[in-house]
Every structure is written in structure tokens, then in C-alpha cells.
């Protein structure tokens, strides 16, 4: 009697394949057995290194506790949760597969690009029908998150003024008690600082360099229009503010007023120069305090020596970058899930939660918070002072790295070193920057 026998390996493979198929088929259930409505969050995972993700994780746990039995957030593990070059592409792929998470976070440029897939939820209706909630947000916080047709693609997570940190001791040695109020004075001070042996300004070729470029533009006549609108176009060369700012910033490098390793795109290079006491000035947001100034890499006393200021101006008034670019977006489609999404968004934009977020991350609330509650909270004094100062500042504008086209950062990193080192002239730099930043597969 002959039997055709299957090899053991084949049987095991078949069983494994069957088991995988069953597991895959059973994985899509969102409705728990006890009618609890489950939604997914792709930026709510635990993170020991990213205070924003960690806050989201803890907020989701608090939400699950408060709405136990009604709503529950299921945390998705996501390698692209934090900001990075691949995050947009990751969500575009999910949008193509009609598989976006119910909740996740993006910056304004990414939101703008992802909204074109037609897979993002527009919150206009919810905000219009709940004006009490809509009115809790600070003025202008939705600007960078709103589409051309008035669609509100995201609920803002924060509203941060981004200023300039300076070492009071070093500037004092150069004869300045505080950061100069005009660019001309800043340059004179920087030259005086260089003579004392200090590096006047620490930059990185990316985020921090663009912050200074943005400040130089934003405080110039017509600069705010460029940063709000012109940045999305292809005509940078003819913008006087952008042209002048570009040459001024380049000249600082050429003159030796900036750290020589300012082109890698690694903020840590700029941070190291400042935290070691070698550099006198570095621009960044409030999170710099927790992640750097109070970190292990900072020399003793650097926190105490640090002041935080708005940007110098050209003549009339100083300026400040305000970033409200990051927001919560949703790929949920059915009404029941959107109900849970909205419940969570209202939860995280409550006064209690935004203060917890501010304490944990250093980010400032996107909603209006009672001054007494703010004062009672354990907020970082350096950044709190800047928030107060931001109420009186003459000019505010968005950061090009957040509000500009999605390709702006990579285009800048590629071209800026070549421009500063004289390989290309200002016209070529600005023309190519505009072209490359706005390049897409359309």
C-alpha cells in the first residue's frame, strides 16, 4: 500500500499560514465585547525620549480611565510617530490603503500634503456646532491647520513662541546686559563676543539656522507676508526681505560669527556649542530647557546664566516666531468613531490637560487658560516669561520649517552649505530653494 505523504515541514507551514490568516482576519475588530467604542491612536505610545509622545500616552491612559466602558483608545506602536522625514510618506501609504489611524499628529506642512488624499476628517462642522469649545482656542491657532477651502484639518496641540536663548555672562563680557534689540546692534555685539573668544551664535544648518532666517525675514517690512504666503510659491528671489535676510545670515557665517560645524543638520552640534559655554546664543523653542539646558550635556550653571528673548528687529519693533503647527488629525470615517475622537480631543484641550502637557513638555497651551491656573502650575520660568513677552511683541510669524512646504527642510540642508561656502550665488540659492522645496510628484 502506498501513501503520498506530505513532508512535516509542509504541514507545519500550512498550519502556520492558516493560523496567520485567522489572526489577520480577527485583527480588525474595533468594537469591544462590552460595547465600549475603541479607536486607534498612532501617536500615543510610551516614549522615554520624546516628552510629547509620553504625554500623549499618559493622556490616553487618563482618558481611558475617565471614559471606562464608553470609549477606549488603543495605542498603536508606530516607528514614525515622532517628527521625521518619513512620517508623511508613512501616512500617505496608509491613506492609499484606506487604513489611517483614528487619531494621530502631524505638522501643518504634512497636514496640507496629506489632506490632498481626501482621507482626513474636516473638523469645521464640529467646531461650528460647539462654539463654546471652539472659542477656548487662542486666536490664530487654526491658521496653519486650515485648508484653502476653509477646512479645519486638525485640532492644535500647542502654541509656542520660539525665541533666542543667550548666555547672559558671555554677552555681559561683551558689554551687553541683555540680547540686543536690533539686528545692527546684534551684529556689533556678535563681533565683540568673537573678540572675547566666544562663538557668538550656534546654528545647525537646519532647524536653528532656519529660525534665524525666519526672524531676519519676519522682522523686515513685508517679511510676514512672505513667511505666511510667499513661502509656498516659487518666487523667493524677488522678495526683498528674503533676499536681504539670506545674505545677512550667510555673511555671519563667512565672518566667523557662527560655529564652524553649523551645516550638519544636527541640532546637537549647535546645542553642544551652547551647553558647553562656548557659544553665546542659540535659537530654539521652550522644549530646549528640559531636553538640553537641564540635561546632562549642560555644564554647571548654564541654566542660571541663560536668558530667553524675542528676536531683534531691523528698526521698528522686535519679532517672535509662533508655532502652532502641530495638531491632532483623524482618519476616522464613521460617526461612532468620530464621537470618540471628539471626546478625546475635547479631553486633551481641557484646561487641566493643557497645563499637564505644558508641565511635562514645556509646550504652551493652544487654548486660553486662566492666568491664575497658569501661575499656579509648575511651568518653566524661562519659557513662561517669553509667553508673557509675546503678548507685547510687535511682530509674530510662523517658522518656515513647520509652516513651509514639506520639502523645505531637505532642500535647505542640501543647498545652504554650498551657498555659504560660495559655490552658488544668492539668486541661484533662492531660486533652487523655492523649486526644490515645492517640488512634488504632481
Amino acid at each position: 500500500m502506498t501513501h503520498s505523504k506530505f513532508p512535516t515541514g509542509v504541514v507545519i507551514a500550512a498550519v502556520a499560514a492558516g493560523a496567520l490568516t485567522l489572526a489577520a482576519c480577527s485583527g480588525g475588530g474595533q468594537e469591544a465585547a462590552n460595547d465600549e467604542l475603541v479607536i486607534t491612536c498612532a501617536t500615543c505610545q510610551e516614549s522615554p525620549t520624546d516628552p510629547f509622545l509620553q504625554y500623549n500616552f499618559e493622556a490616553a491612559q487618563r482618558f481611558n480611565e475617565e471614559f471606562d466602558g464608553t470609549y477606549r483608545i488603543e495605542t498603536l506602536s508606530n516607528a514614525n510617530a515622532g517628527s521625521g522625514d518619513e512620517r508623511l510618506q508613512y501616512y500617505q501609504r496608509l491613506a492609499l490603503a484606506d487604513d489611517l489611524p483614528d487619531l494621530f499628529q502631524l505638522n501643518s506642512a504634512e497636514i496640507s500634503a496629506l489632506s490632498e488624499t481626501g482621507s482626513l476628517h474636516d473638523f469645521t462642522g464640529e467646531l461650528a456646532s460647539d462654539t463654546a469649545w471652539a472659542d477656548t482656542f487662542q486666536p490664530g491657532t487654526f491658521d496653519a491647520l486650515t485648508g484653502i477651502g476653509g477646512e479645519v484639518w486638525a485640532i492644535p496641540q500647542q502654541r509656542d513662541p520660539i525665541g533666542i536663548y543667550y548666555n547672559k555672562d558671555l554677552w555681559s563680557k561683551a558689554g551687553y546686559d541683555e540680547l540686543p534689540a536690533t539686528w545692527n546692534e546684534f551684529e556689533e555685539g556678535a563681533r565683540a563676543l568673537a573678540e572675547t573668544g566666544a562663538i557668538p551664535l550656534a546654528l545647525d544648518g537646519d532647524w536653528a539656522t532656519m529660525l534665524m532666517w525666519t526672524n531676519l525675514i519676519g522682522t523686515a517690512p513685508g517679511g510676514q507676508e512672505f513667511l505666511n504666503e510667499g513661502i509656498a510659491g516659487k518666487d523667493f528671489v524677488d522678495d526683498e526681505a528674503a533676499y536681504e535676510a539670506t545674505e545677512r545670515l550667510r555673511d555671519w557665517h563667512v565672518e566667523g560669527l557662527v560655529n564652524s560645524d553649523a551645516f550638519s543638520g544636527e541640532f546637537q552640534n549647535a546645542a553642544a556649542a551652547y551647553l558647553s559655554g562656548s557659544a553665546a546664543t542659540v535659537p530654539n523653542g521652550p522644549w530646549f530647557v528640559k531636553t538640553n539646558l537641564q540635561g546632562d550635556a549642560a555644564i554647571d550653571g548654564i541654566y542660571e546664566s541663560t536668558g530667553y528673548s524675542v528676536s531683534p528687529g531691523w528698526d521698528d519693533g522686535q519679532g517672535l516666531i509662533v508655532v502652532s503647527g502641530a495638531g491632532w488629525v483623524s482618519g476616522a470615517e464613521d460617526e461612532t468613531k468620530l464621537e470618540a475622537v471628539l471626546a478625546f480631543l475635547k479631553f486633551v484641550s481641557s484646561e487641566e490637560e493643557v497645563i499637564i502637557q505644558a508641565e511635562q513638555t514645556g509646550a504652551n497651551p493652544a487654548v486660553i487658560v486662566d492666568q491664575t491656573a497658569l501661575e499656579a502650575a509648575d511651568l518653566e520660568p524661562l519659557s513662561s516669561a517669553l509667553v508673557s513677552a509675546s503678548n507685547d511683541v510687535a511682530l509674530t510669524y510662523p517658522h518656515v520649517r513647520v509652516h513651509g512646504p514639506a520639502g523645505f527642510g531637505n532642500a535647505w540642508k542640501n543647498l545652504w552649505p554650498a551657498y555659504v561656502k560660495g559655490d552658488i550665488d544668492t539668486e541661484t540659492f533662492l531660486t533652487r530653494l523655492a523649486d526644490d522645496a515645492n517640488a512634488s510628484g504632481d
Binding site: S4, K5, F6, P7, G9, V10, A13, D85, E86, L88, Q89, Q92, R93, A95, L96, A113, E116, T117, G205, N259, S260, D261, F263, S264, G265, E266, N269, A272, A273, G407, N410, K413, N414, L415, W416, P417, A418, K421, D423, I424, A439, S440, G441, D442
Partner: protein, 280 residues
Amino acid sequence: MRFSAFVSIVPAAVLFGTFFAIPLVVLIATSFTSWSGRSLEIVGVENYQRMITDPVFMKALGNTLFYLAIGVFVQVPLGVGVGMVLALKPRGWKAFRTLLFIPFVISGAAYALIFSMFYNSRSGLLNSLLAPLGISGRDWLFDSETARWAVAGTFAFILGFVMIVIMAEIASIPRELYEAARVDGASELQQQLLITLPLLRNAIGTCVLIRVLADIGMFDLVFILTSGGPDDSTVSLALYAYRAYLQGDWGYANAIGTVIIGLGAILIVLVRRLFRIGDR
């Protein structure tokens, strides 16, 4: 028996089809489209025509061939030379073998980070070493004149793999050949040049082949060290394809990917023929 044999290759065939054949077909097919993720339109050979007039693509092609040349003409000969010397088992050869092999087992990303600190213009070791010699410091990775050479310098001297392959091949050469040569009065150098080197043809060919395959897809080192800058002076084909992908230009990215595969296939055939790999 025949059925069992057929069934036994099914898992391998399924894996090959799923993870290689189907993606390859998709890659090639979509290289003839304009595909942004939102829409897909067949454009024929437009993406390939675009490459010819795209200066950045030409830079990427030139850089990739440059990295490949460094791998083939610097790394492989050096590795062969070192392997041949260490196979003679001079004093301390085991320590040298270990030291030279260590860089090969370090991940590319970690290696790139080490070198980004080494090249750092303000606090890097290279400028510190050159300063006492009166050579002024440079921003090696972000100066268009030096960037490509600085990137190549990070991998040109990773000799471990070639060295080990060569040493293993030499160990398999019958000792009688050397004894006969010595009897005939051949010097040590003559033995190396006339016996060892010709018998290493297969091993050297294999090393060149592997180097070609690694360098044609050069990505991680360049990405971490310079992101392809300054002004695209270090960008490789693989990195340029990735950039196109990030910009939502997926059809063009896949066309570049197809070029990488085509170029790799041509070079494999050339290297195999040149070294007669497999022939004894």
C-alpha cells in the same frame, strides 16, 4: 517523490515571488508611470527621458560610480594585500586580523555617526590631528570639494570582509605547490605573485562582485553623513530615489530604482566574465 519535491520548493517559491519577483515587476512597471500616491498615469519612457536632462540624477550616477570605484579599486586591492600578508602569519597577525575585522561588524549607521564626529570641523579628531602639521581645519563633509572624498574615506578602509575571504582561500591552496616552488628556487615574493595571486582569482572576483552590489545601492553612510549635500555633491542613486519618493514622485523614484538594478545586473555579468568566477 516528484510531488514531494514540488511541494518542498513551494515555500521558497512563494517567498521569492512575494518578496522579490512581484515587487520587482511592480517597480519596473510603475517606472513607466507618473505616480504620486494619489494618482497613477502611464507616461511611457518619460521618467527615463527626464533622467538624461536631470543634472542631479547625473551627479547621483557619477557619485555612485565613484563610490563603486573606490570600493573596487581601493578597498578590494588593499584587502587582498593585507589578507595575503596576514596569511603568512607574521608576528601579531591574529591581533591585526581582529582589529581589521571589527569595522566590518559595526553597523553602517553607527559607523557613519562615528565618522561624522571624526570629521566635525569644530571638535573633530581629524582637524585636531592635522593642526600640529600646520594643515588648517576644513569642514570635510560640508565642503563641495572634499565631501565626496570624505564619504568615500569612511568605507574605503573597511578591509575585514575581503581580508577574511582571501585568508580563507589561501588556506585552501595545497602546500605542495609552495614546497615545489621553493625546491625550484622561487623566492617568497615570487611564490606570492606566481602561485597565490593567480589562485585567488575566484575569491577576488567574488569580493569585487560583493563590493559592486554593496556600492551600487550606497545609502546609509551618505544619508547619515551628509544627506546627499552639499549641493548634491555626495548624493547616490539610492538616496536620490529616496528623495524622489519623499517628494511623492514615486514613478521617478522607481525608474531610478530600475536603473540601479539594470546597472547592477550589467556589472555582475561583466565582473563574472572578467574574473571567470566559478571556473577552476
